[in-house]
Amino acid sequence: MPQMTMVQAIQDALRVALREDPRVVVLGEDVGRNGGVFRVTEGLQAEFGAERVADTPLAENGIVGGAIGMALYGMRPVAEIQFVDFIYPAFDQIVSEMAKLRWRSAGQYSCPVIVRAPYGGGIKGGLYHSQSPEAYFCHTAGLTVVIPSTPADAKGLLLAALEGEDPVIFLEPKRLYRSVRDEVPEGRHTVPLSRVRIAREGEHCTVLAYGAMVPVSLEAAAEAETRGWSVEVVDLRTLVPLDAEAVLASVRKTGRVVIVHEAPRTCGYGAELSALIAEKALTSLQAPVLRVTGYDTPFPYTLEHSYLPDAPRVARALEHVMSY
């Protein structure tokens, strides 16, 4: 099995999709000749032509709105938003249009658009190249929100998203784009949506994480092992629709929960997880559900590593719930 970075794995998924399905079109800013600013689409225009891998004018509402029109007409567009921080001009197209087209047409139309965007901090990108806005999309009925944490998952989840009929927000942890190289199956490889991955099995505490916070959580879990605590790390992979049963099964098994995300805390995705656990697994809990998150501030440039949750912060939360 070949070793790939996440960038290569996503590129491989797009190549498989473009090869196998004539309906697939890739569009966005700089995705063509330049291969994207992170080189995710490198070589695709040369292989599939400028019509199917299209550089667009610089307007996110036009990119997503155009992709919606393509999907209505029967295509499978994959729209790239260069950084998720630039997605807000397309926010209305995503939440008012893309998410609701099937429902508001009573199933006459579907809108299988994939919106890919790198998200998250850790690359010295400052306020407008580092945000984690997943909660905005999780709040919108009709959207599927996917965040991979490994190269193999990035490929498999993207290809699974392209096989579905629903619009998908596919957020890529840019900090992990090239930092990890891992085995990725060749050819068509899909990973089912709405299924968690148990990244590490454990007995005493559950850490719920996704994207770039999965390796951070695994590092903390390994450290906890040295103190005799067996920590389970659940990689959510799809935030909405959530694999709630798997989350609850882990919580019921361990009785302790730490939730980790780099997005700000208030009304972040961790709040939804906490509420779910309180409603459905309260009697299993041995300790309060803790959240380790970004702060309720805009994303800082110089102090980004103080802002971002890291293994020591997760370890501190683990210590708190384990000694509660």
Binding site: G65, G66, A67, G69, M70, Y73, D92, Q93, R102, E245
Partner: protein, 366 residues
């Protein structure tokens, strides 16, 4: 660009240019359709005033623009309408009964009560579902045209907008992309002079809407939107251009919204009544009637006969629609996702168990 709108039939019903080639029987059908739209507006506004439907957006005064924009299209073309273009769907084959059911949001509604009245869509006539957010459908028209171009199909997509939407970001993006990729799309603007209470002079400092096309690199044309013949001529040229690979066109039909923005709006708060009287003299039905009678295409009794037929059709549609129950509670949860996720299925079971489906009957808050 000449800012004076193209006119072929003057307000007095005199032919002042070369009429587009339209078969006499089609002219009769077109006139009948305009009468049908006007009568449907009258009857539906009346139903709204009686509290039998919740909302209505009239197209009165804009029948020529709407009908003329629909006529040159093929059945295989796609339309991306907004509030005042239900008449396009009606022309293409949607029935009066389906429209009345949509206005009532009942179980006979194609959209099973999911959208406000007048937010109609019908896949059978390739009319795409739209939101109330202004101008958002224009990028979809652009994208669908892009897809048609990629598939090398000769479909034309029409994105409808009003003068207000010409200020929206999506109009700019749609026109810009359409120009760059030379897409087979027509942007059809019904410039009815008013976006609720805000006049055209507060939407743009340019001389009308059509001139904006120049900046996007494709033709814009201004027509008298109350002149069916001029609208057909301009739209036909635009559609032919799109179909033959010549790229997009922006057609601006200069017309006037004779009523309020909707049944919830009182235009006397912001608009001079004299202006309305002026536009009454430019009525699209009146001039077409005069010309068709003079040319012998319309007989003395035709309109009366048609009006009677149409009233019967609408009356029957209302009777049938009012007998239908509201959609079942379960319908609210379908179509959110292609397959209902377990969490949503749980919410549906809760709603059913709570008897939520019993709370809707006869409730149309005004």
């Amino acid at each position: 660009m000449n800012a004076a709108p193209l006119q072929l039939l003057d307000p007095e019903g005199r032919l002042v240019g070369e009429a587009p080639a339209v078969a006499a029987e089609d002219l009769r059908r077109l006139f009948r359709h305009m009468v049908r739209m006007r009568l449907l507006d009258q009857r539906m506004l009346s139903l709204q005033r009686q509290g039998r439907i919740g909302f209505y957006g009239m197209a009165t005064g804009q029948e020529a623009a709407i009908t003329g924009s629909a006529y040159p299209l093929r059945d295989t073309d796609w339309i991306f309408p907004a509030l005042r273009e239900t008449g396009v769907s009606l022309w293409r084959g949607t029935t009066t009964r389906e429209i009345v059911c949509q206005l009532m949001g009942n179980s006979g509604d194609v959209l099973i009560g999911r959208q406000m009245p007048c937010h109609f869509s019908d896949r059978r006539v390739r009319s795409v579902a739209w939101s109330s957010v202004i101008g958002t459908q224009l990028v979809h028209a652009m994208g669908a045209a892009w897809a048609a171009q990629l598939r090398k199909e000769d479909t034309v997509c029409v994105g409808y907008l009003g003068d207000g939407a010409s200020s929206a970001a999506d109009f700019h993006a749609a026109a810009n992309f359409a120009g760059v990729f030379r897409l087979p799309v027509v942007f059809f603007c019904q410039n009815n002079q008013w976006a609720i209470s805000v006049p055209l002079s507060r939407q743009t400092a340019s001389e009308g809407i059509a001139i904006k096309a120049v900046a996007y690199g494709f033709p814009g044309v201004r027509v008298d939107g109350n002149d069916l013949l001029a609208v057909i001529a301009a739209m036909r040229e635009a559609v032919d251009r799109a179909r033959s690979g010549g790229g997009p066109t922006l057609v601006e039909a200069v017309t006037f919204r004779m009523g309020g923005h909707s049944s919830s709006d009182d235009p006397t708060r912001y608009r001079d009544g004299q202006l309305v009287e002026q536009w009454e003299r430019r009525d699209p039905l009146g001039r077409l009637r005069t010309w068709l009678r003079a040319s012998g295409a319309l007989g003395a009794d035709d309109e009366e006969t048609w009006s009677k037929e149409i009233h019967e059709e609408i009356g029957a549609a209302i009777t049938e629609a009012e007998a239908l129950p509201p959609p079942p509670i379960e319908s609210m949860f379908a179509d959110v996702y292609a397959t209902m996720p377990p969490g949503l299925a749980e919410q549906m079971r809760y709603a059913v168990a709570m008897g939520e489906g019993q709370k809707v009957e006869g409730v149309f808050p005004l």
